[in-house]
Each structure stands twice: as C-alpha cells, then as structure tokens.
Amino acid sequence: MKNARNVALTIVLFCSSILVWEVIVRAFEVPTFIFPAPSQVATALWRGFASGLYQKHLYYTLVETVLGFLLGSALGFFLGTAVALNRYVEYFFYPYIVMFQSLPKVALAPLIVVWFGLGLKSQVINTALVAFFPLLVNTIVGLKSTDEDRMNLMRSLAASDSQVFWMLRLPNALPFVMAGLDVAMIFALIGAIVAEFVGARAGLGMLIQSMNFNMDVSGQFSVLLILSIVGLLLNRCILLIRRRVLFWDPSEKERLERERVVI
C-alpha cells in the first residue's frame, strides 16, 4: 500500500518537474540552442531513433565500452594477481604503477589516436586504459588482505601455495575485485566518450561533438539522456553479478539494506 503510494508520488513528481521545465522554457522564450524544452528533446530523440542514426552510434559506443572494460579489467586483474603473489614483480612494477595511477589516463587519448588512428582499436585501448587501474589496485589490496587466522588454518592443514590461493586468497579478494569492476564500468564509459571526443568515426561521444558544432542542443540533450540510461544499465549488470558472486559477504547485505530508501 505504502509502496504503491510511493511509486505514484515518484511519477507525479517526475511529470510535474518536466512540465515546469516545459512551461518555463516556453514562458521566457528561451532559445532552443541555449536550453531546449523537454518536448524538443523528445522530438530529437524520436527523430534520431527513427532515422537509425542513434542505434548505429549507440551500438558503436556500447561495443567499445564493453570491449575496453573486459580487456582493461582482465589485464588489471592478472597483473594485480602477479604483483600480489610475486615479490619480484611487485618490486619492479609497483613504482610504475604508482606513477601511472596519479596520471589522468584520458590525457593519453590524443597520443593513442596518433598511434592507433581513428578506428575502434583506438577507443577500445583508451577505454581499457581507464578500466585497468581500479581492477589492478583492488586486486592487489584484496589478495593481500587475507586474515592471519585463516592463513594459519590453511597452513595447519598442510595446504600448498596454490591451494591457499584458490581456496582462500582468491575468494577472499572477490569483494575487492567486484568493487573494482563497479568503478571500472563507470570509468570505461567515460573513457569511451572522451576517446570519441578526441577523434573517432562513430559513437555517441562523436555525435555529441558534431551536434555541438551544429548548435543542435536538443540533439545533445537527447544523447545525454541515452548515455545516462546506458550508464545506469551497465552499472545494474555489475550489481547483479556482484550479488550473485558475493552472496556470502556481510557488507553486501548491509549495502542492500542501505540502498533501500524508505520514506
């Protein structure tokens, strides 16, 4: 009952804010190229999808985001594991990792375009670069945070190093790895859009930029709308995987409790 009331309230609030926006834009005759009305954004959205333009660019951006995310997080995970497990790798690699970490990775985008051109490869590399670090850092921290008592237990059972890794350290690191994936997913979308800004033949980021040159502000608003929905959906995917994998993690249950906002 209370739930239904809340849903109704949310819808009413949303619709009225859209209405107020529409009314203000019309009443003050705000030019479309400064701030479009919701109706104009909706028209742009419909036109974009009807012509097939948005689908094409959306697909391109999705492909580079997902590919870059997979590539970057996989590399981050494996290098992170190597650093956590091997003292020599840690000794020789860690200084570079720390150095690179403080660098805004998107600043490398122009260089990557120079090296790899305007094609998909360039955007995927840029996205992967951004998604790489959250996984790297979290995997290292996760694998190194193994509880001493649990280590003693495994040792008392005469477990081999590889058994300690598979049965204890890896599952123990999973909450950290999943948190890393969460961040990497958001970063990947940012990386993809910035890469498209810098130079690409397709994608929603490129579309935003070309619309900007043409003063098509309602078009830009409609693409922003698509991007926020894409971001939300990608984030939900990670959340679903996370709940599946970390069903045993007490902090995960707390998180679920916190997310449920009760009025």
Binding site: D147, D149, R150, N152, L153, M154, R155, S156, L157, A158, A159, Q163, M167, L168, P171, L174, W248, D249, P250
Partner: protein
C-alpha cells in the same frame, strides 16, 4: 610410544630491543588417548606452544615429536581448533567441514557420510546447507571442531576454543567436547585460561608460568568420567582448582 613428546622446547621472538622469551625449556609428554589441558595466564606462550605443535611456527631450541616423528612442518594426522571458529564465509557448513578433505585430496564422496555423522554428533544435523553467518558463535565453534575431526586425526590441538563464548554456552560446549572425546578417544591438547574448565575436561592439567613460559606443575585429575556439570560442585573438584590457583597466587599471577 608417547603421542606428544616435548623436550626442552624454547621459543624466542626477536624484537627491536633484544628478544622475548616466549617459551623456556618446556618438557612434557602426552600419552595416546589422553586429554591434557594447559592452563596459564595470558601471554605465557600457550598459543605459541600450540602453533609449534601444529607445525605452523618453528621452535627456536629443543624438540617436539608427535608419535615418534619430529615436527618439521604442518602434518595431516592432527586437527587444530583455534580461538575463533575461522570458518570460510563463502563455503556452506558442509563445505567448511570438508575443507581438510579438499586440501588433502582424500576424496569428497568417501567423506560425505563421515561429515554428516560428525555434524549430527555435535548436534548440527540439518545445518549442512547453511552458511556460517546464519549460525550462532557456539554453533560455529562446533563446526570448527567437526572440521578438525573430519580427516580422523590421531590428535586434536585446541587453542582456547571456547574463550569467545558466553559462560552458559561454554559449559554446554565443555560437556559436548567430553562426550565427543569419550566417543572418539583422540589425544587432546587443550589450551585454556580457565582453571575450572581445565579441571573439568582434562586427565592432566599442565600449569604454566607467565613469560617466559615454562611448566611449573603437572596435576593428575582423578575424577571419574563421564563428568556431569554438577561435578564442579563435588567435594573432590574444589581442591584441584584451589591447588592450581594457589600455584598462580604464589607466582603473583592472580591478585587477591
């Protein structure tokens, strides 16, 4: 042959200013099937002793033998129960119990029934599909005991296993442990800082001094088994507790 034979065992921990003597020339024997409790104040090196016997920690000097062979590392014929249950949260109760089987590759299928029998022995039948966080502290420690017994080790090393439990659960667990021990007849080395607990459970109580830890007394407890909790009120119980406490008072461990 003695189940545990410890000879002039010492352990030094290096620190910034010199080294700390945790154990000093400890010697004692435990016979096969005997229940021996080690009681001493905090920081007397009880846990260090257990870790050395479990093969997790190397000794500095002296020698410890389990069933005639010197301890060089972890071995498969012992079961260890730690202060906290140390259950792995991502494993179900059954999988936690089967951890030693998985590690030592003894064949899950063959031990499934053993695990179920042990779980019912400690009163946890029906909980095998549950996860650790769904169990109370006492139940979790029972799972830990089950895990220590699953690969049928000849001896159990227990490091203050009931220290974190409330007084009532603790008494209950003492009874349970006695029942399990009477049924399985393992050699048990039980570390505790509770004198009544040590007297209630053990055939022999080794009394340790504060750091550097060494054994100052070896008390035979001649109360018939099975001992009920009421045994703590029997006239023969009090003298044991009193005698051990007196040893500590003489050393200035217990202020009174």
């Amino acid at each position: 042959m003695e189940a545990i034979a410890v000879q002039e065992l010492s352990k030094l921990y290096p620190t910034r200013d010199g080294s700390v003597h945790a154990l000093q020339q400890i010697s004692f024997n435990v016979s096969e099937g005997e229940f021996v409790a080690v009681v001493g104040p905090s920081g007397c090196g009880k846990s260090t002793l257990l870790k050395i016997l479990a093969g997790i920690l190397p000794a500095s000097k002296g020698e410890a033998r389990l069933r005639g062979t010197p301890i060089t590392g972890p071995r498969r014929d012992i079961g260890v129960v730690f202060q906290s249950p140390v259950l792995l949260p991502w494993r179900s109760i059954l999988d936690n119990v089967l951890l030693p089987i998985d590690v030592q590759r003894l064949g899950r299928d063959r031990h499934l029934k053993v695990a179920m029998d042990l779980l019912s022995l400690v009163g946890l039948e029906g909980f095998e599909r549950h996860y650790p966080w769904e169990l109370s502290g006492g139940m979790q420690q029972r799972v830990a005991i089950t895990r220590a017994l699953i690969h049928d080790p000849a001896m159990l090393l227990m490091d203050e296993p009931f220290g974190a439990l409330d007084a009532m659960t603790r008494e209950q667990m003492n009874l349970e442990l006695q029942r399990i021990w009477l049924e399985r007849k393992k050699t048990v080395l039980f570390i505790t800082h509770s004198i009544p607990e040590a007297v209630f459970l053990a055939d022999r109580v080794l009394v340790m001094t504060p750091r550097p830890g060494c054994i100052m007394d070896d008390v035979q407890v001649k109360i018939p088994r099975p001992r009920a909790l009421e045994a703590m009120n029997f006239p023969e119980f009090a003298p044991y507790v009193h005698c051990i406490r007196a040893r500590f008072s003489a050393k200035g461990v217990i202020d009174s």
